[in-house]
């Protein structure tokens, strides 16, 4: 009689697991469908295409960053999700529902604006209460929820102040509380840390990230600061000229850039141009002016086509003698200059092609070399990425 009992137990366990999963899932929104879907989004102003065929899926609870230089269409994309701009074509789905016909004031998303956009004539409390008041939430509930929201951003004592009596960081927090108090499905943040000084900015980055983790709300964050994007995001969508260049985790984006733009925009990188010669699995050999360099190619690289080999400065190594273990990536260069950056030393060398190449060295393992000296640059093959031009 043991086996049926165990079987029954198993069924019971499964059932309770399913129940817990379903209740938790429905409450926290852990559904399998993405929270936000952008489908072939296009935005044109006259003849100018600002956002060009952007498709992207953002999961529930994800911290996604739209990263790119100014004018790349990241803010326009965010504003289309918020409802302030209407796409020329394409569709936006929020939690499974198309929302393009929904006006901004009926979309269950909230925005933190770049300049905070606090209501100057209202106190901090009234600012945060605004969204609840227009939705006619009961007065007692408003007091409770605004109080909680202010506590969350550590501004309880500032409830009675006007925005112009607050510092930049405090205004920022009010803006976040004002948006989050409405329990949005998605929080949109348009360069919210852009106006803060460096130190406060770093601190707010961490705070925001923790807040997002704790609340489990989907964040879509717009920034042009690649370091900020790497620090905070679960995934980064890199945009350039209205086009989505690459979407991936910070590690993916940094270690395996798919385009030359991504490689150069995220961190610093050395790009050596050449022609793809042969392919061996994911490894591609590239002829760079006579020297054969190997690197990993994630996307398609047509043999015989112009490509770029990307190497991060901190992945490259300098030596006085050719390194036999370098696996073929050992190229001659000439020392040009050394730049002291504090935590590291940046050494610039000139390749035989005339292109300059940066290497980050640690201060305690410096090569003894001066201007004009002959050196060898090497890196492990897996640290070089081959990109389409």
């Amino acid at each position: 009689m043991e086996i049926p009992a165990r079987g029954f137990d198993f069924v019971l366990n499964m059932a309770s697991f399913l129940l817990v999963y379903l209740t938790l899932g429905s409450r926290r929104g852990l559904s399998l469908q993405p929270m936000v879907i952008l489908q072939n989004l296009v935005k044109q102003y006259g003849s100018q295409t600002v956002v060009n065929d952007v498709s992207l899926e953002i999961r529930q609870g994800e911290f996604l960053t739209l990263l790119g230089p100014s004018g790349c269409g990241k803010t326009t994309t965010l504003r289309m999700i918020a409802g302030f701009e209407h796409p020329t074509s394409g569709q936006i789905m929020l939690d499974g529902e198309p929302i393009l016909k929904t006006p901004p004031y009926e979309r269950n998303v909230n925005t933190v604006f770049q300049n905070y956009a606090l209501f100057p004539h209202m106190s901090v409390f009234d600012n945060v209460a605004f969204g609840l008041r227009v939705k006619r939430v009961r007065k007692a509930d408003i007091r409770q929820r605004v109080g909680d929201a202010l506590k969350m951003v550590q501004l309880e004592e500032f409830a009675g102040r006007k925005p112009d009596q607050l510092s930049g960081g405090q205004k920022q927090r009010v803006a976040i509380a004002r948006a989050l108090v409405n329990n949005p499905k998605v929080l949109l943040l348009d360069e919210p840390l852009g106006a803060l000084d460096q130190k406060l900015r770093k601190q707010m980055q961490v705070e925001l990230k923790h807040l997002q983790k704790r609340l489990g709300i989907t964040f879509i964050f717009v920034t042009h600061d690649q370091e900020e994007a790497l620090t905070m995001s679960d995934r980064i969508a890199v945009m350039n000229g209205g086009v989505l260049e690459q979407v991936g985790t910070p590690k993916d984006i940094y270690e395996f850039p798919e385009t030359g733009f991504v490689a150069e925009f995220i961190g610093e990188t050395n790009l050596i141009s050449g022609v793809a010669k042969e392919r061996n699995g994911s490894s591609v050999a590239v002829d760079c002016g006579g020297t054969l360099l190997r690197g990993a190619a994630k996307n398609e690289v047509s043999l015989g086509g112009n490509v770029l080999v990307a190497v991060r400065p901190e992945r490259a190594k300098l030596s006085l003698q050719p390194d036999a273990d370098a696996g073929g990536t050992d190229i001659a260069a000439e020392f040009t200059e050394r730049i002291y950056v504090g935590s590291s030393i940046r050494t610039m060398v000139k390749l035989q092609s005339g292109a300059s190449f940066a290497v980050v060295e640690s201060p305690d393992r410096l090569i003894d070399a001066g201007a004009g000296d002959r050196l060898y640059v090497s890196w492990k093959p897996e640290h070089a990425v081959v990109l389409k031009r």
């Binding site: 004031y105 009926e106 209501f119 605004f130 227009v134």
Partner: protein
């Protein structure tokens, strides 16, 4: 301490300026309390002229007309001017600059030209002159002033706060009432007060468009002066001066509060 010639001359010059500014008004106020019917010799203090003023039906009638016109003009012109300024600020369209220029042009058009042209228009349309034509004219010449004042206030307006309001669930009209209007309120109030003072003391345009039953206070004074300036007119002018000063003081208080 001896003053240099330059300093002495400066004091003398400044005194002259203030004398010219305030002497006539002081005389006017003084003679409104003069017992004599002539504005020439002081014969003793009296408040009779004020009492008589409040028993003069035709003056009271004119005052009533003036106040009615001023209040309705203030409300109408402030509403039209504010909405127009907000609209002009918010939307971009072809020919916007030209249209803005055309709205502000009436400020510099000579009043007499405005008056005559309105009279011509009304007679063309066969509209009989009366309180309605008076209102139409007053609202028309006041709107550009409201627009100028409100527009100045909008220059420092952060458009994002309107988007923030909508983002938080406020419909466009709620956004206007709860966010836009309170922020530009000092400009709107200043525009309203300006309109009130413009309307209540307008002579030239009113002269052309007022009908027999719609004489305003300034028109009444103007017609009374034809038979000589009486202390009664002095009293009336003093009261108007007082009312205007109160309005300006009120406006100033509002501005102070804002800061």
């Amino acid at each position: 301490m001896r003053l240099s010639f330059g300093r002495k001359f400066g004091v003398f010059y400044a005194s002259l300026v203030y004398l010219f500014l305030y002497l006539p008004i002081s005389i006017l106020i003084l003679y409104s309390f003069n017992r004599s019917k002539l504005n020439a010799v002081w014969t003793g203090f009296t408040t009779d002229w004020y009492v008589r003023l409040f028993h003069n039906d035709s003056i009271l009638e004119a005052a009533k007309t003036s106040l009615t016109v001023a209040v309705i003009t203030t409300i109408g012109a402030t509403m039209i001017g504010t909405l127009a300024a907000v609209g002009m600020y918010r939307y971009h369209f072809r020919g916007k600059i030209a249209l803005e220029g055309l709205v502000f042009l009436p400020i510099v058009i000579p009043e007499i030209v405005m008056g005559i042209s309105m009279l011509a228009l009304f007679s063309q349309l066969k509209v009989s002159l009366g309180i309605m034509t008076l209102l139409a004219a007053h609202i028309t010449f006041s709107v550009p002033f409201v627009m100028v004042v409100v527009r100045a206030r909008l220059a420092g307006f952060d458009k994002n706060i309107e988007e923030a309001a909508m983002d938080l669930g406020a419909k466009p009209w709620t956004t206007f009432l709860k966010v836009t209007l309170p922020v530009i309120a000092p400009g709107v109030i200043a525009g309203a007060l300006l309109t009130f003072t413009l309307s209540i003391d307008d002579v030239v345009i009113s002269f052309f468009v007022a009908g027999p039953g719609s004489t305003t206070l300034p028109l009444k004074i103007y017609s009374m002066v034809k038979f000589g300036v009486t202390p009664e007119i002095n009293a009336l002018s003093t009261l108007m001066l007082l009312a205007t000063l109160l309005i300006v003081l009120f406006a100033e208080r509002l501005q102070q509060k804002e800061k």
